[in-house]
Structure formats: C-alpha cells, structure tokens
C-alpha cells in the first residue's frame, strides 16, 4: 500500500506544481507589466528626449529628434491607450523592440539571460559549496569561538554592499596580485571575481543556516541512537544529519535568489558583464520601456521558476512531504 502511493503522489504533485507555476508566472507577468508601465511614466522628464539621447547621444538631440521619436513610438497617445496596447502585446507574448537599439527585446534578452544565468549559477554553486562546508564543519566541531567567528564574519559579509566587496576583491586580486582580470567577459577567468563577489554574501547566510540546522539535528535522539547502535560517523552524517538538515537549507537557499538578483544588478554593471541586471540599469537610464519590461519580466519569471524548483527539491528530499500529499490526495 505504502509502496504504490508515491507514483500517483508524484504525478499529482507534479501536475499541481505545474499549475501553480503557470498561475504564479501569469500573475507575475501581469503585475510586472502594469508596474513597469506605471513606473516608467512616473519617472521625471520627457521620455522622448531621453530615448532620443539614448539612441543618438545627447549632443545630437534637439527638439526635432525628440519629436521624431515621439511620433515613431506613439508616445503622444493618451496613457490608457498606450497601456491597452502594452498589456495586449504582453498577453500575446510580444515584447516589442528596444527603443534604443531597435532590435527585438526577445533577442536581446536571450543574449543577456545566458550571461546572467551563467554568472548566477556559478555564484550560487560556489556559495553552496562554501556555505555548506563551513556551516557543517562549524557545527561538527562544536566550538563556541568558531561559532561566534562564523556569526561575526557572516554578519559583516551580509551587511557589506556588493559594490564594496567587488571593489575590494578587484583591488586585491586584479591590481595587487595580478591574478585575474579586473572586468570583462568571455573567458572562464572572467567568472571568478563577479561570482565570488556574489557568492560571499550568499555563502555567509547559507553557512549560518547550515550551522544552526545541523546543530539542531545533531542534538536529536535519532542521531544519538544511530551513534549508539554503532553506525560509522560518516554514515551518521550522510544518512541522518545531512538528509534531515537538507530541507531547511534548500528552502533557505531558494530565498537567496532575491539577494542574487539584487546583487547581479550591481555586480554586472561593476564588472562590465552583459547580463540582465546591466541591461535593466541601462534601459532605465535610457527610458527604454520595452527593455525595462522585458528585463523585469525575465527576473520575475526566473524567481517563479526558482521557487518551483526549490519546492520540487524539498519534495524529493523530504518523504514526509510526499506522505502528506498522499493523504491529501486520498481525501
């Protein structure tokens, strides 16, 4: 009976998960679309001049060039008219063309998203490796001073803006040590500084959560029982400690995407990395409304997908969740 349940539970959970994913994605798209439209309109200054300056350089821009842009993009239509076209296009998946470069937004995003995903993934894996190793080691060592050190360093790293970490790392590793390129992209070595900048803040939080969860699991009766029955320490760690501490850690690492997205905007523009964050900053400066929407939408959907992935990982890791779903589905 218990053996048959997970197959149907898996399909059911998958279907529900996908439905939830689709609903969330739709809601995020609608909210992002409306907010972007409102935000860009609320920014001070005449959008036509700003877009013209982004296209041709402000030296060249005069009233004639701005008027031409206004006519071309229909910026002189009433706002509700523009909002209607805007949401209609969004519903059809038409993200339009960048007002600055004139290229389709989808093409630009495809180019930038790859760069951002590569960087985020590298940073996140680095943070995961460092955070899990340090957190587990501190919990196992059971030394108070090490625990305090982890808390202080973690707090300092999380409180330091990514920009400062980037500046310090680039000054040390690129200028003084001459080990790495200070900025740019293209080679594997270009990944090190930006991903390390992002990873340090993430790893700090992850190490603390890992340390607390692992500490808690270590003090449970089932770990004590496993030890008493004579299970070798590595097996205790793998089968009981890590398995049980994995769920809170996975859930926490999911919330870190917020930090990652925030950091990516700063880190990409500092290290001249051609990703979504960099594009978002430039699109905002240039009032490139379709690009602002496209990049924000991309980040929002990334977040939705990531949350879904974390849910799935937790579901896989924790049999209790699966059992819970089984009993739910039988009701």
């Amino acid at each position: 009976m218990r053996r048959q349940a997970p197959a149907s539970a898996f399909t059911g959970a998958l279907a529900r998960g996908l439905l939830r994913l689709a609903l969330r994605a739709g809601a995020v798209a609608a909210i992002v679309g409306a907010v972007c439209f409102a935000l860009v309109r609320a920014l001070p200054g005449d959008a036509a001049y700003r877009i013209a300056a982004g296209r041709y350089g402000y030296d060249i821009v005069d009233t004639n060039a701005a008027d031409a842009v206004r006519r071309e993009l229909g910026l002189d239509r009433p706002w509700w008219n523009q909002l209607w076209t805007w949401m209609e296009d969004l519903a059809h998946g038409r993200l339009g063309r960048s007002m600055v470069s004139g290229d389709p937004v989808v093409e630009e995003l495809a180019h930038q998203l790859g760069h951002t995903l590569q960087l985020s993934l590298a940073a996140w894996l680095l943070a995961l490796a460092v955070g899990l190793a340090v957190g587990t080691a501190v919990a196992l060592s059971n030394r108070r001073w090490l625990d305090r050190l982890l808390t202080s360093v973690g707090l300092a790293l999380r409180a330091t803006p990514a920009f400062v970490i980037a500046l310090v790392l680039a000054t040390w590793l690129a200028v003084h040590a001459g080990l790495l390129p200070a900025a740019g992209h293209g080679d594997a070595q270009h990944f090190v500084l930006p991903s390390l900048t992002l990873a340090l803040g993430l790893a700090a939080g992850l190490a603390q959560v890992t340390r607390h969860t692992t500490g808690h699991v270590l003090s449970t009766p089932y770990v004590a029982f496993a030890r008493t029955k004579g299970l070798a320490p590595p097996w205790v760690l793998l089968r009981h400690v890590m398995r049980n501490s994995a769920v809170p850690v996975a859930t926490y690492s999911g919330t870190q995407l917020v930090l990652l997205v925030e950091g990516v905007v700063v880190v990409e523009s500092f290290f001249a990395w051609p990703g979504i964050g960099h594009a978002l900053v430039h699109a905002l400066i240039a009032r490139d409304i379709p690009m602002v929407q496209g990049t924000a939408l991309c980040m929002g959907l990334l977040f939705v997908c990531w949350s879904a992935l974390v849910d799935a990982v937790c579901w896989l890791l924790d049999p209790r969740l699966q059992g819970h779903t089984v009993s739910d589905s039988r009701k």
Binding site: Y58, D59, H111, H185
Partner: protein
C-alpha cells in the same frame, strides 16, 4: 526507481545535475592568460547598434570605417576616403574624388555609388548632415558630387562626422537596416557583441601603411572605478575617460602614461536671457564674475588649465582669441554691476529687486559626472553675491524641453564643438535667430547671426578670421552662455605601447600608428 531511492544516490544525482549545468554554462571557455597580443581598449561608450547614426563613432574611432574627410593632428581637414575635393559653380557643387585602390572588408572596391548611398542615408537619419543645405548627392565615375541650395563652407568638416561613415553595399539588409559593419578602414570586424564588446583584426586589403598592431578588442565599461582598475591592473592597454579623483594616482604609476588634453568641448551655463532676473547683460556679467573658475578647475576637475577665460579653448586655434579680456572672478565689481541694474541686498544677504528675491534654478544632468559637482560649486559661489540658486539634477532632455516651453532659467552643460571639426555648424544651431536647444535662449544678436552666416559662405582666410573674432567678442561681452571650464579629455596607455597619441577631436583612437614597445 524513485519509489525507494537511497538518500545518497539522490544527492549524488542532484550534485551531478548541478555540476552538469555549470559545465554547460561555461562553453568554449578556457582558463588561460589573456592573449597579450590583443590590444585592449576600454572606454565608457556602449555600442548602441550597428547603424552609423547611433554609436557609429565607435567604429570610426576603432578605424573600421572611414569618412570622406579626416582631421590631421593640427586640427585641419585632411583626406580620408576622399583623396581631394573641390568646389565649383559659386560653391554650390562639391566634388569629392575617392582614393584609388580603396577596398571594403568584403573585398569589393569602394565606388562612388556606395559612398552616395551611405551619405544619402546619413542625410535622412539624425546626425549632422541633415543640417547642411544638401540638395542632391550623386556618383560621377570615381567622384561623389554633392549639390547645395546655398554656399556652405563647413560641408567638408561635416563629412568628417562619424554619422557620415561609408559602408559597403553588403552591410545593408534588404529593409535598409545595417546588418554588419563592413567598412574600408585598416581594421576589420571579427566579432561584435553589442552593447559591450567589439573585436577587430588588421585588414590585409588596406593600401596605406601596414599597422603594427594586429588585433584589437574594445570593451565598453560604464563605471569609472572599473576602468581605473582595468588600467592600473594592466588588463587594458588604452583606457579613455578617468574620474578626476584618480588623476594623481594614475600620474604616479610607472606602468602607465596618463594624458590629459583640452578638447573642443566647453562646460558653460546656458542662460534664459528673457527671464526677468537675467535679461540685463550686467546681471549676466556679474554672475560670470562671481564664478570661481580657477577653484572649480583645480578642485573639481583637478586640472588648473581647465578654467575657461572665454568660450573657445586655446586648442581651437582659429577660434580662441588671445587678445580678449579674460573672464575672471571679481566679487566687488560683480556687486557694483548688480547695483547698476537695480538689485539691492536684503537683510538676509539675498538680492532683491522690486520686492522680488533673485531666485533661479539651474538644471543639469549626471551623464557627465562632474556637472552636478560643478553646479553645486556655482551654487555656493553665487550665494556670495546674494543669488539664491537652486540646483536640479535632471535628465539631459529637460534642457532642450525647458528651452522649448520657456520654463528653463539656467542650465549647466558641456557643449561639443568638435561634432564637426568646424564649430560653425554648432554655432549656427546655438546662436541662430531663436537661440538653440543647447545654446542661447531668448537672446539674439544681429552681429553674431550675420557673422556666422557670412562664415559659412566665405573661404577667404582673412575675412573668416575677422568674422570669428567679432563673434567671440560679442559672446564674451553679452554672455548669452557663461563659460565655466574647458573640457579635459583623459586617457591612460600602458607603457607596453608606443606611438600613442590622443585625438582631441575624438575621431580616431589612432591604433594603426601604435606599436608594441617590444615584441611580446
């Protein structure tokens, strides 16, 4: 299988998936040292597209594309893709003969028809050529013929502007858009990744002197801090535009050569001369006398030579008038001048006239990071003579918009006189009958207007010199714009490079003439 997997195999699967995704995320990359044979250029300007009217200047500066006309180191016009030119028929017809043997990077010969097509496009897109009285552009054998509706002497200078660069026929898509940058310069594009990266290599079909540098990479880096790190770490060989705060440190480094050069760009205060408080010339003169230009140049721009004594910098040899009485700081004289036009000091130290305080707003923008800092310095300096100045840091577009709707009072901006190497084009826009978006506002001078118009119609050097002198004199006396500083262009180059020179007109990075200090 998923019914009873062991936790370890599950974890292993997860880890393998993660490792595989990282592996696939890093395609075609290698952990190798940067190829030192590639010259790395770093500048703040992003590649906004392939069309010459957008950021086409990046392609001319990288010597990928050419314009018909060039500028030599002395600032005079020189042959580019045109080997020579002449005017006929009362200066209404210009004939540009193309350089023989010129080839595009796709191997095809540069024809007059190619040139005419590129120029026709430039005329219809935003840029300088639309402001010239061009009637017709046509090909005649190996010559491009441009017909004008009235004489216009700066035409050749207009044809040095990057928006008039010449592209091959194969550069255009069927809809007329630019699909590839195929020019005729000494370097050809090997890869272009807007908005940041561009890679070029030496073009073998170039008939001029063979460049010593074989491969060049361009990277757009928006942040000054990052450019500074790239220069000091030696990652970049040629870095343009440094933050003033870093000048001293860069000068002290032995691995770098730091250059600061006055370029034809002036930072000035645009004045709404129709505003009740600003309409009298003595008031504008008093404002000018309250500005501490030497202080701003030394403390904000970190270059004492940047303090402007007149509108045109000494580098603009034909336009700078050495005999003109310089603009200086004189608070006593400023207060006297203000008294003569009815301003009196109130109990709070602020000026009043007819019961109204002297309260104005200065608009500026942060695209050029020094402008807001200079604006607040001016705010403090004008406070000393009793002017209540508010500073509004806005979008650059608020200046032309405020000019148009009349709400602008004062604006601080940097005006480029090298858009075309002959500033007449810019002056025509700035000091015309209705002023200009970036120039005078509610101010006009028949003398200046006539002199600028006459300048664009005469080639007589003597007469041109007299006309230029008269324009500079009127502008200095009436101050429709109040000059503050001459812009300094800064660049650093690695000592691995020799024969580095900076083009004050920013038309070219002059890479073709550079060499590695020793073979690497």
């Amino acid at each position: 299988m998923h019914n009873d997997p062991s936790p370890i195999s599950r974890r292993r699967t997860l880890l393998l998936t993660a490792a595989a995704s990282l592996g696939s995320a890093l395609p075609l990359t290698s952990f190798g040292a940067t190829d030192k044979k590639v010259l790395q250029v770093v500048a703040p300007w992003e590649i906004g597209g392939l069309d010459p009217s957008k950021t086409g200047y990046i392609f001319t500066r990288m010597q990928i594309t050419e314009t018909l006309v060039n500028v030599d180191p002395s600032g005079s016009l020189a042959p580019g893709l045109a080997s020579r030119w002449e005017t006929l028929g009362n200066q209404l017809v210009w004939r540009f003969k193309l350089r023989t043997g010129a080839r595009f990077h796709d191997g095809s010969a540069v024809t007059a028809a190619d040139v005419a097509r590129s120029l026709e496009r430039a005329r219809n897109n935003p840029g300088v050529l639309g402001n010239a009285p061009v009637q017709k552009i046509k090909a005649d054998g190996d010559t491009v013929v441009i017909e004008l509706s009235r004489p216009f002497t700066p035409l050749a200078a207009f044809l040095a502007h990057a928006s008039t660069q010449i592209l091959a026929g194969s550069a255009f898509a069927p809809d007329g858009s630019v699909k590839a940058v195929i020019g005729s310069g000494p370097y050809r594009v090997t890869s272009v990744q807007p908005p940041q990266k561009l890679e070029v290599e030496r073009f073998d079909g170039w008939t001029g002197p063979k460049p010593a540098i074989e491969r060049v990479a361009y990277l757009a880096v928006g942040r000054g801090e990052t450019r500074n790190l790239m220069a000091t770490s030696g990652q970049a060989d040629l870095v343009f535009t440094h933050d003033p705060a870093n000048f001293e440190r860069l000068k002290a480094l032995r691995t770098l050569k730091f250059q600061s050069l006055a370029i034809p760009r002036t930072i000035y205060v645009k004045v709404n001369a129709g505003h009740p408080a600003l309409k009298d010339a003595p008031t504008r003169q008093a404002l000018s006398m309250a500005i501490d230009r030497a202080g701003i140049a030394a403390a904000v721009l970190r270059e004492p030579a940047a303090a402007a004594t007149q509108l045109f910098a000494p580098g603009m040899a034909e336009w700078h008038v050495p005999t003109l009485a310089p603009l200086t700081r004189d608070l006593t004289r400023a207060r006297e001048l203000l008294k003569t036009v009815g301003w009196t000091s109130g109990p709070d130290g602020l000026l009043r006239r007819d019961g109204k305080p002297f309260k104005v707003t200065l608009r500026t923008f942060s695209d050029r990071p020094e402008l807001p800092t200079i604006a607040t310095a001016i705010q403090a300096q004008l406070r000393e003579i009793g002017v209540d100045l508010a500073v509004a840091v806005m979008n650059s577009g608020e200046i032309p918009a405020g000019h148009k709707d009349g709400t602008l009072e004062l604006a601080l901006l940097a005006r480029n006189y090298s858009l075309v190497p002959d500033p007449v084009g810019t002056l025509l826009q700035d000091f015309g009958p209705n002023g200009g978006d970036w120039g005078a506002m509610n101010w006009s001078s028949a003398a200046v207007r006539d002199a600028v118009a006459a300048l664009s119609a005469t080639n007589d050097p003597q007469r041109r010199s007299v006309l230029r002198g008269s324009i500079a004199t009127v502008l200095q006396a009436e101050l429709p714009v109040i000059p503050v500083a001459w812009y300094q262009h800064t660049a650093s180059s690695s000592t691995r490079l020799v024969n580095v020179s900076i083009d004050p007109f920013e038309l070219s990075y002059r890479i073709a003439q550079m060499q590695w200090a020793r073979a690497t």
